[in-house]
Symmetry: C2
Subunit: 571 residues, 2 copies
């Protein structure tokens, strides 16, 4: 038997100061390669043989080099350096590009070719609220744009410095835990703290803070390791356990904001009836109203010993949706991880999780759960132990009613270790010209199939294109749909046009423009039609109040100053 | 044994067109009298004998009569009548006063003496969204103020027509159920529907709408029978089962608003990440941004068969608070009704519920639960049956840990039938010059005792004054405190000053200005200092956007146009 060919997936950290070091996901030394089953699937879909994978292209290993003059004056740079300290300001080409770049596929593809579009003029790493207050006041006076970089994981150009100016990096110094209040079950942190630092401290609260219990932050987006709490809030993120813990929106108790018209802290009551909640008005503002500097966040007891996992296979997506809806409306508490995959994602997922071809797969097939029809449901319950036991019991009962076969907690266990690793796969695929990207939407139960079918149809109308879909954030009133598409093209414009077509299809079929990725610049052209001009006018009025000179994340973000939908051309 | 004296508590419906018909709570033919135990307690506290209760005073049985000219022109009245129909507009003195009056004690006391302060110039009962759009456009053009009357239960002058103009009554015609969507578990209604009509329809959904399940609206404020869904939302109300179902804020999926700058409907997704949520910005706007005309509201399965009740007695308020906090943070789901009373409320509550003096009382005393120290906890769980069983089990376990004695579900059962009836008692007490009123606040767990003690101290510093306190809306991060005070005075100004002192004490001790009564005009003078000028400026910017001519509920509401804190003098 011939030795199996395996492509030379990159195991080499990006070169220092290279483009690749900017667009590569996550840790420079961490990789996740397509497993052999997925590799075979890709070859088949794109009609390729092993020889295609002999040679990588556009690896972006060159050192960053571009010619974009710094437009701030020496006086301005000096003034900013005096505020934040000379060690904390940079106008180096590499730094300017690094902190002007998010994690969209488009940015990665362009940087692979050395194409640099917008960069800020200087990067500042503020040390304190006072630094930020002074910087905002200074920039407001001289009308210098400000962008905020937290973890840098934006997938919609949310931090693109469309008009140049200053990028503030919050994760460098503004990443401390300020207080853990066990009585109120809250943690107060600086907005630049990333997921792991927060979660590790909370998980070890007894030791670190002398608390009675250990805690969890309850928010685990796929970007968890490389996103900040501030980013979670201003983009309205949602974690993989949101069905139980709530979305970022729900988890915020209070915040401190620095805006061009002043600094304020919202009250940290669990609930009040003192007029429209400014605390909530600020959420989702995506850098356009001001800089979020501190957050008081709900925490939950960390009780992994009570976690109960479960997995089911359904004969159809419709069955899986019906069961999910009944669970979501069942009033026995919600699962934490709660995820159903459609036919195509199940097909590939069973390969990824190593279930394809096993005895379990054979049993499923024998019992009528057929490939490209069957749908996977994985989940877990968290909370008090009798509470989680009852959730598992009720979930089982409901899934059985809809023809679901119990396949143990194994698939959830297989999924868990990779939950933050999947974004690493993009690097490998892109090395061979295969594109993978995602778009997502919020749907009402009575429209889920309509949106799912319309978007799938649009994507599948393109020959040789994978479309995997799952729903992973559940509410009694609806859920989300998360589309992952894989295509092979060297034409970035074709890819962009295709992506636009998907967004268009989501909007036209009645999905929300975003469930948890935010709007940024990428989705902005659809926003006004989606929410209506009356509501856009409200957002613009608030924007005008906070930021009369439009210095906060200007240039298309949230469509606030988007004139002709062509945000890529804004200068 | 001499026959016990019982005061001649009123059993007579108010005379037609009398002041009393306006200030009397609820149904004209329904009454709730102080029971003999409470009567005895009041005599003792105020050092009165039966003879004091021989004669009522200031009953307000006179026909309404006052001299306040209608300031709208004939042309304006004609134009408004042409819009809404001549049958739906009134400039009668009685109607103008009736729909200009809320349910504050101050209003009741003044009307008892025939003192009429602010009235609108005309009352309109719009029939449709179109009527309202035309009225708002017309009033905006001619700068005529608009106030909205739903159920009329405001306890903070929220509907006081400070500057005259038009009062729109939404509960007359705009009270229909427009759609029940069982798939999405939502109901869409006109904003003027009152609690009972909504709840009865939902409880009978199978029969009325052919649904699979019956439903509940989940929101049961004490004003339930005489408040509208629109009112619940714009004042940020909270129901007696909010710990499980959520506050009004949480229950709204989407809304339709008519404002001076246009009409819009927010999207009805369960969650989105498309920028700041205009849907949430409108909540709590208390009539100052526009008119809420339609609501899509979450509904829950109606499963009274799964309800489990429980009651406990604790040795101290501190024990009751500690147990409540542990329950709220226990992650096994929340009780629906969840209520702890402090020493003094427990003392009077046990009398009201008929437990005082019974064998149960004796057992409690024997076991060390002493009067004026012991504290009552009543509650119930709702939801799926294993879920409610587990909540009861966990609640029992935690209460036992804090020295609570289980006293069965009886006190909850005693409390339930009176839950909407207590406001009727005011009429009787006021007839004899005894005042009863309430103020409430939101507190964090780490500050509950501080606020409780400070407010109690302030109230109890006044001789012969009852102060009963309970917490009845629970969150992992805190709860509310609801103060009921009873005093005897004929001096309205003294009462107002005393009330101001309580609000002041709440604010200074760190409570929120309101947990669920809203701000209205009464609390407005404290708002700017409470939330800060930066946040007030945000609210004013939004106000200016929606209502450039300040026609929507002008004159002190939410402190938006409050200059010198003296809202009573605004004309």
């Amino acid at each position: 038997m011939a030795k199996r060919f395996i492509p030379d997936w990159t195991e080499k950290a990006p070169e220092p100061y290279s483009y690749r070091s900017i667009f590569k996901w996550g840790d420079p030394h961490t990789f996740k390669h397509p497993n052999p089953k997925l590799y075979d699937e890709l070859k088949q879909i794109f009609n390729l043989d092993d020889s295609y994978f002999d040679k990588k292209k556009n690896e972006g290993r060159e050192v960053v080099g571009y010619k974009k003059p710094v437009k701030l004056t020496g006086t301005q740079l000096k003034a900013l350096a005096e505020i934040a300290g000379y060690d904390n300001i940079s106008t180096k080409e590499y730094d300017r590009l690094k902190y002007s770049t998010g994690k969209t596929l488009e940015e990665a593809l362009k940087l692979r070719k050395g194409v640099v579009e917008r960069v800020s003029d200087c990067v500042i790493h503020p040390r304190s609220v006072e630094d930020i207050q002074k910087i905002v006041a200074y920039c407001n006076k001289y009308k210098i744009p400000i962008y905020v970089y937290g973890g840098g994981s934006s997938v919609n150009f949310g931090l693109r410095p469309s008009k140049g100016g200053v990028t503030l990096v919050l994760s460098t110094h503004m990443n401390k835990i300020l207080a853990l209040n066990e009585t109120n079950q809250t943690v107060t942190v600086q907005a630049g703290i990333l997921g792991p630092a927060l979660e590790e401290a909370l998980n070890n609260a007894k030791k670190l803070f002398g608390t009675k219990y250990n805690y969890t932050c309850g928010h685990f987006p796929q970007s968890f390791e490389y996103s900040s709490i501030g980013g979670w809030i201003v983009t309205l993120g949602s974690g993989q356990a949101s069905s139980y813990y709530g979305d970022a929106y729900d988890l915020v108790i209070s915040m401190k904001w620095v805006t061009p018209v002043g600094t304020f802290t919202t009250k940290d009551y669990a609930a009040t009836a003192t007029g429209p909640k400014v605390n909530d008005i600020m959420k989702g503002s995506e850098g356009t109203f001001g800089v979020l500097v501190e957050v008081t966040w709900k925490i939950y007891r960390y009780m992994p010993e009570n976690r109960r996992r479960f997995g089911f296979i359904f004969k159809t997506f419709e069955d899986a949706v019906n069961a999910s809806r009944e669970i979501s409306q069942g009033e026995f508490g919600m699962p934490a991880v709660f995820r159903i995959s459609d036919e195509e994602e199940t097909h590939i997922g069973l390969k990824l999780y190593g279930i394809d071809g096993t005895i379990l797969d054979k049993i499923m097939q024998m019992r009528g759960y057929k490939p490209m029809q069957r749908c996977l449901f994985i989940g877990s319950a968290e909370g008090e132990k009798h509470f989680t036991r009852n959730i598992k019991k009720q979930v089982k009962k409901i899934c059985k009613k809809y023809g679901g076969m119990y396949i143990t907690g194994l698939p959830t266990r297989m999924w868990e270790p990779g939950r933050y690793k999947d974004p690493y796969i993009r690097e490998d695929l892109n090395d061979y010209g295969i594109l993978i990207d995602t778009l997502e939407t919020s749907v009402k139960w009575d429209n889920i199939h309509n949106v799912h079918k319309a978007v799938r149809q649009f994507i599948k109308n393109r020959p040789q294109t994978v479309c995997m879909t799952h729903a992973s954030h559940f509410y009694p009133q609806g859920t989300n749909l998360y589309f992952i598409y894989i295509m092979k093209t060297d034409d970035i414009d074709e890819y962009i046009k295709f992506q636009d077509g998907i967004i268009d299809t989501i909007a036209k079929s009645g999905g929300s423009l975003s469930h948890h990725h935010g709007v940024g610049r990428m989705i902005a052209p659809w926003l006004e039609e989606h929410i209506g001009k009356e509501q856009m006018a409200v957002l613009r009025a608030i924007k005008k109040h906070f930021d009369p000179h439009n210095i906060m994340n200007p240039g298309g973000q949230l469509a606030l100053d988007l004139k002709d939908k062509n945000w890529r051309n804004i200068k």
